[in-house]
C-alpha cells in the first residue's frame, strides 16, 4: 500500500499534496431505562486527497481507495480552480515514522458480554435509587489507524483506541424533569469506565434532589468553578480564540490577539498541547504530519502563543504547533485544540470560598459554546455559596459572559489541577473531536448567571 500511495503523489503540477487513509472498527452499547436499547458493531475505511495550487485547496474524500492517482489528479484540478495567489505553508522537514499503538487496557480485548455485565451493574446502582424515573447510558469504543503521506516525502502511520461513556440519571415529578450525568473518556484505557459505582450513585441521588432544589436568581455573582467546568470554560472562552484560523486573515482580530496583550492577572497561565502525554487530546503528529507540541497560550496573564496549522503559521510568520486536526477522512484538517488547561496555583478550595458572602459554586457540565467574544456554558450541578460555606443545591445553571472581561476577572486559581476526558469538541461540522481540558478550581468575580 505504501508504494501505491507514494507513487500516486508523484509527478503532479501542484504546490503541495497529501493523502490520508483510515481503517477502523468500533462498538457501542446504549441503554435507555433498564434495557439495552442498542448494541452494534461497525467497521469502516476511507481516505482523502488534499492538494494546494496557487493558494487554493482541492479536497476529495472517498470510501473506495481504488484509482488513487486519478483521485489525486481530481484534487489538483479542483485546487487549480480555486487558487489565484502564491501558496504559503510553513516549512517542515519530511518525517517517516510508524508510531506504536499506546494501550493501557484495550477495550477491544474485552468481550461484549463483559462490557454489558459492567454496564448492568451501573444500571442497578441507578435504579436502586428511590424516585429515579429513568436513565441512559451510552458507551462506545473504537480503533482507528491513519496512514498519512505528502508530496514532501513524509510517511506516517498512527493508530489510537478511544473509549467514551456518558451516564445520565433522570428524575421526574409531574412535568418537571431533572437530570444529572457524568462523562468519561480515555485514550486506550478501558479501566476508566470500571469501578465508578460510587460516582454514579451520587449522580442518581443528585437528579432526585434537584427536583426540590430552587432556581438561582438571575444576576451577577462571584462564581467558583470546579476543575471540570473550569476546563470547559478554558476551552470555550479562551481556547477557541487562540485558534489562528479565526485570526490570520482578519486584521481586526490580529489586533485583538496581538502577542503581548494582557488577558488576565499575573496568576493566569493557559497551555494547550498534543505533546502533553496520556490524555484524549494527546498525539504524536497532527493530521498534516506535524509533530505535536506543548504551547503556552497565556503566561502570567499575557498572550504569548496560539494554535496553528501549516497555513496559518506561515501567514502569521510563526511556527506550526501541530494543531491541524481532522475528525475523519471526510474532512480537511483545521486548527483545533488538543489538551487545554489552566496551570495550578497555590490556593486551596477552602481559602477560595472563605471570603465569598453570596456566590455560586458551579460543577460538572452539560456543554458550552463560544462566539469568540461571548461564551456560554452550562453547569450540571450548582450550589449557593453563603458566608464562605457551600449552601443549598440549585437547579443547573447557565453561565455566560464576555471572554475578555471574564479572563480579567479570574481572581484565584486552586492547587488541584484535574483533567476532564469526557468531552468532545465541535467546530466547522467536525464533532466530537477527542480533546481534553482541565483546570484547578478557579474563582471569577462578576460572572453572569441566567435564572428566574
Amino acid at each position: 500500500m505504501r508504494e501505491q500511495i507514494v507513487d500516486a503523489l508523484k509527478g503532479h503540477n501542484a504546490d503541495y499534496i497529501e493523502i490520508r487513509l483510515e481503517d477502523g472498527k468500533s462498538s457501542r452499547l446504549q441503554y435507555r431505562g433498564q434495557e439495552l436499547e442498542d448494541i452494534g458493531q461497525s467497521t469502516g475505511s476511507g481516505g482523502n486527497v488534499r492538494a494546494l495550487v496557487n493558494g487554493g485547496w482541492g479536497f476529495i474524500s472517498f470510501n473506495d481507495p481504488g484509482e488513487l492517482r486519478a483521485k489525486v489528479e481530481l484534487a489538483v484540478k479542483q485546487a487549480r480552480l480555486v487558487g489565484n495567489e502564491k501558496s504559503l505553508i510553513a516549512q517542515s522537514d519530511p518525517i517517516v515514522d510508524i508510531v506504536p499503538l499506546e494501550l493501557i487496557k484495550d477495550p477491544l480485548s474485552i468481550s461484549l458480554n463483559d462490557k454489558k455485565r459492567l454496564l448492568d451493574e451501573y444500571i442497578d446502582v441507578i435504579w436502586s435509587t428511590p424516585s429515579i424515573q429513568t436513565s441512559t447510558i451510552s458507551y462506545s469504543d473504537g480503533y482507528k489507524k491513519v496512514v498519512f503521506a505528502n508530496s514532501e516525502g513524509s510517511y506516517i502511520e498512527q493508530s489510537r483506541v478511544d473509549v467514551t461513556a456518558r451516564i445520565t440519571a433522570m428524575a421526574r415529578d409531574g412535568s418537571d424533569v431533572q437530570q444529572s450525568g457524568i462523562s468519561i473518556g480515555s485514550k486506550g484505557d478501558f479501566g476508566v469506565v470500571e469501578d465508578i459505582h460510587q460516582q454514579i450513585k451520587g449522580c442518581a441521588e443528585r437528579a432526585v434532589q434537584m427536583l426540590a432544589a430552587p432556581k438561582v436568581k438571575g444576576s451577577q455573582y462571584t462564581v467558583v468553578l470546579d476543575p471540570i467546568l473550569a476546563g470547559v470554560f478554558t476551552h470555550e472562552a479562551f481556547g477557541h480564540l487562540s485558534e489562528s484560523d479565526f485570526v490570520y486573515e482578519n486584521d481586526r482580530m490580529r489586533e485583538i490577539m496581538v502577542l503581548g496583550r494582557k488577558f488576565g492577572k499575573p496568576l493566569l497561565n493557559i497551555v494547550d498541547g498534543g505533546a502533553v502525554p496520556g490524555y484524549r487530546g494527546s498525539y504524536k503528529y497532527d493530521d498534516e504530519g506535524i509533530p505535536s507540541t506543548k504551547t503556552y497560550l497565556i503566561k502570567e496573564g499575557v498572550l504569548v502563543g496560539r494554535l496553528h496549522s501549516r497555513e496559518t503559521a506561515a501567514k502569521m510568520g510563526e511556527r506550526p504547533t501541530g494543531n491541524a486536526r481532522a475528525i475523519s477522512y471526510s474532512h480537511q484538517p483545521i486548527v483545533r485544540m488538543s489538551n487545554t488547561y489552566i496551570e495550578p496555583g497555590a490556593t486551596t478550595f477552602e481559602e477560595m470560598i472563605s471570603d465569598i458572602k453570596e456566590g455560586v459554586y458551579a460543577k460538572n457540565w452539560y456543554g458550552g459554546m463560544t462566539s469568540m467574544e461571548m461564551f456560554t456554558f452550562s453547569a450540571g450541578e450548582a450550589y449557593m455559596i453563603r458566608n464562605g460555606k457551600i449552601a443549598e443545591l440549585l437547579r443547573p445553571v447557565v453561565l455566560s459572559g464576555n471572554v475578555f472581561t471574564t479572563l480579567e476577572n479570574i481572581d484565584a486559581i486552586g492547587n488541584d489541577l484535574d483533567m476532564n476526558q469526557g468531552g468532545g469538541c465541535g467546530k466547522g461540522g467536525q464533532s466530537p473531536l477527542a480533546v481534553s481540558n482541565g483546570s484547578p478550581h478557579i474563582k471569577i468575580s462578576d460572572c453572569l448567571v441566567g435564572g428566574s
Binding site: 452499547l29 436499547e37 452494534g40 479536497f59 470510501n63 428566574s452
Partner: protein, 436 residues
C-alpha cells in the same frame, strides 16, 4: 444491488427478520473564507447496515466496506445475543405517497456557477458594509437510498439538495457582531437575494448598540430565533423514546392543553422539494403529515417501529438512522401561522427584545423544556421601535410556561435551513439578565 440482495438472503436464513439499508452519497462544496474562495471539496460516501431479529432480539451492524458480506452478518449475529427484544414486524411491500425530492439539475450545476453564487453573496453584503468579513458556502448533494427486508418490503429513492449560506463578522475593538443566513432546497438555488437581504437587515438593525435591559420582559423570536431556542425543547418531548421511557413531560398528556391555543405544530415529510422530506422513513414506513400540537393540545407523538411497538402505538413514519439503529426524530416541522404581523407585534411592545440567535440555547435541561443562553444576535425594542443590538444579555425560560397565555404567533412564516417553517413567536414574559 447484488450485494444487498445477497446479504439479505444470507441473513434471512439465520434469523426471523432481516433488513438491509444502503445509502450512497455524493457531495460538492465550494467554501469561502475571509471574503474569497478557499477550497472546493468533493465527497463520495457509502454506508451499508444490517438489522436482524434473532431469537426475538435485535442485532445490528454497519460498514462502508462492502467486500465482505459474511463479516457484516457475523457482527450482527454477535450482538443479537444481547440486543433489545424486538417489538415490531418489518413492513411488507407498501404504497408510498408521491414526494418530489430529486432534481437532476442539481447534479449538473457547474462548480463555476457555485463559485459565482458565493462571490455574489459576499460582494452584496460587503457592498453594504466593506468592513464585514465573510465566510460563505455553496453545496450540492445527492443521495440514493435502498431498503430491503425479509417481509417483502422494499423502497428506494434518490434525493438532491442544494444550499447557500453566508456569515459575516464585523469587529470593532473587541466587539464582535455575527450576522448571516442560509437556505436549502432539493432544487438548485440561483437567487441569493433572500439571504443577502436578510443579512443586510441584521447589520442595519444591529448598527447601534442599545443600553442593556433586564427583568421579566416580552421577547419576540424571529423564525431563526424560534429554530435555535424553542424547537429543540419543544420537539424532544414528542420523541417516542422519551415517551416510552417516561422521561418526557408529555407522558399521559395526549389531548391535553399544554400550550396556548394559538399554537399548532405539524411534522410533515411529504412536502415537495424540501430536504427533510421523502417517500418513506428509514424503515420503509410511508411518509405522512402528523399533527403534534393542535390549538395548544398535544395530538401525537413521533414513533419508529420499535418505540411504537413498546408504546402499543403505530409508527408515524419518523424513523431516522444516524449511523446506528433507527430512532424516531422529526422530519420537517411546520409551525402554523397566526394572524398578527410581526411589525404590529413589535409596534405594540413598550420595552422588550427581538431575538435571532440565542447562543447555547440547547445546552441545558432541554427535556425539561428549558432554553436559555446568551443573546448573540438580538435587538432591543423601545416604544414599538427596534433601537439597536443588545449585548452581554442572557435570556432563559421554559416552553411549558413560556408558550402559554399571551403568546402571539406571527402571520408570515419562513423556512429556516430547509427543515423548519415557522413564523415569529412573541412570548409575553421571559427572564432577561444582563451584565452591568
Amino acid at each position: 444491488m447484488k450485494i444487498i440482495e445477497s446479504l439479505l438472503n444470507k441473513a434471512k436464513k439465520v434469523s426471523e427478520q432481516a433488513e438491509v439499508f444502503w445509502v450512497t452519497s455524493q457531495n460538492t462544496d465550494a467554501s469561502f473564507e475571509a471574503n474569497r474562495l478557499k477550497s472546493v471539496e468533493t465527497r463520495q460516501g457509502r454506508y451499508l447496515s444490517l438489522r436482524i431479529v434473532k431469537d426475538g432480539r435485535i442485532g445490528y451492524s454497519s460498514t462502508n466496506k462492502i467486500d465482505n458480506v459474511d463479516e457484516i452478518l457475523n457482527m450482527a449475529l454477535d450482538v443479537a445475543k444481547f440486543g433489545a427484544k424486538a417489538e415490531f414486524e418489518l413492513p411488507s411491500l407498501q404504497n408510498y405517497p408521491k414526494v418530489e425530492v430529486y432534481d437532476d439539475n442539481v447534479n449538473h450545476v457547474p462548480i463555476k456557477q457555485m463559485v459565482d453564487l458565493g462571490n455574489t453573496m459576499i460582494a452584496t453584503v460587503r457592498d453594504h458594509n466593506a468592513e464585514v468579513i465573510c465566510e460563505a458556502g455553496v453545496t450540492k448533494n445527492a443521495i440514493s437510498v435502498t431498503l430491503l427486508n425479509s417481509n417483502g418490503g422494499q423502497a428506494s429513492y434518490e434525493k438532491t439538495s442544494f444550499s447557500l449560506g453566508v456569515e459575516g463578522l464585523l469587529t470593532r475593538g473587541t466587539d464582535m457582531l455575527f450576522v448571516g443566513e442560509h437556505e436549502s432546497s432539493c432544487r438548485p438555488l440561483s437567487d441569493v437575494s433572500k439571504i443577502t437581504t436578510a443579512t443586510i437587515r441584521q447589520l442595519e438593525r444591529a448598527k447601534e448598540t442599545a443600553p442593556p435591559i433586564q427583568g421579566q420582559l416580552p421577547v419576540v423570536f424571529t423564525p431563526k430565533g424560534v429554530a435555535i431556542a424553542l424547537i429543540s425543547p419543544l420537539v424532544i418531548a414528542y420523541n417516542g423514546k422519551n415517551i416510552v421511557q417516561g422521561s418526557s413531560p408529555l407522558v399521559n398528556k395526549l389531548g391535553q392543553q399544554m400550550y396556548t391555543e394559538e399554537i399548532s405544530v405539524y411534522d410533515d415529510a411529504t412536502i415537495n422539494y424540501r430536504p427533510g422530506c421523502r417517500i418513506c422513513d428509514d424503515e420503509g414506513i410511508a411518509s405522512r403529515k402528523t399533527p403534534l400540537i393542535e390549538n395548544g393540545r398535544v395530538s401525537n407523538f413521533l414513533y419508529d417501529l420499535q418505540t411504537a411497538g413498546m408504546a402499543k402505538a403505530q409508527s408515524t413514519g419518523n424513523a431516522n438512522r444516524g449511523g446506528g439503529l433507527p430512532s424516531p426524530s422529526s422530519s420537517t416541522l411546520i409551525v402554523a401561522e397566526g394572524s398578527t404581523s410581526v411589525e404590529d407585534i413589535i409596534a405594540d411592545m413598550k420595552q422588550g427584545l427581538v431575538i435571532e440567535i440565542l447562543m447555547g440555547a440547547g445546552q441545558g435541561n432541554t427535556i425539561g423544556g428549558e432554553f436559555g443562553g446568551n443573546v448573540l444576535l438580538g435587538y432591543k425594542v423601545e416604544n414599538g421601535t427596534i433601537v439597536g443590538r443588545v449585548k452581554d444579555t442572557m435570556v432563559s425560560g421554559n416552553i411549558y410556561s413560556a408558550l402559554k397565555e399571551g403568546v402571539v404567533i406571527g402571520d408570515r412564516s419562513a423556512w429556516v435551513g430547509g427543515m423548519l417553517k415557522t413564523p415569529s413567536i412573541y412570548c409575553p414574559l421571559l427572564s432577561v439578565t444582563t451584565q452591568s
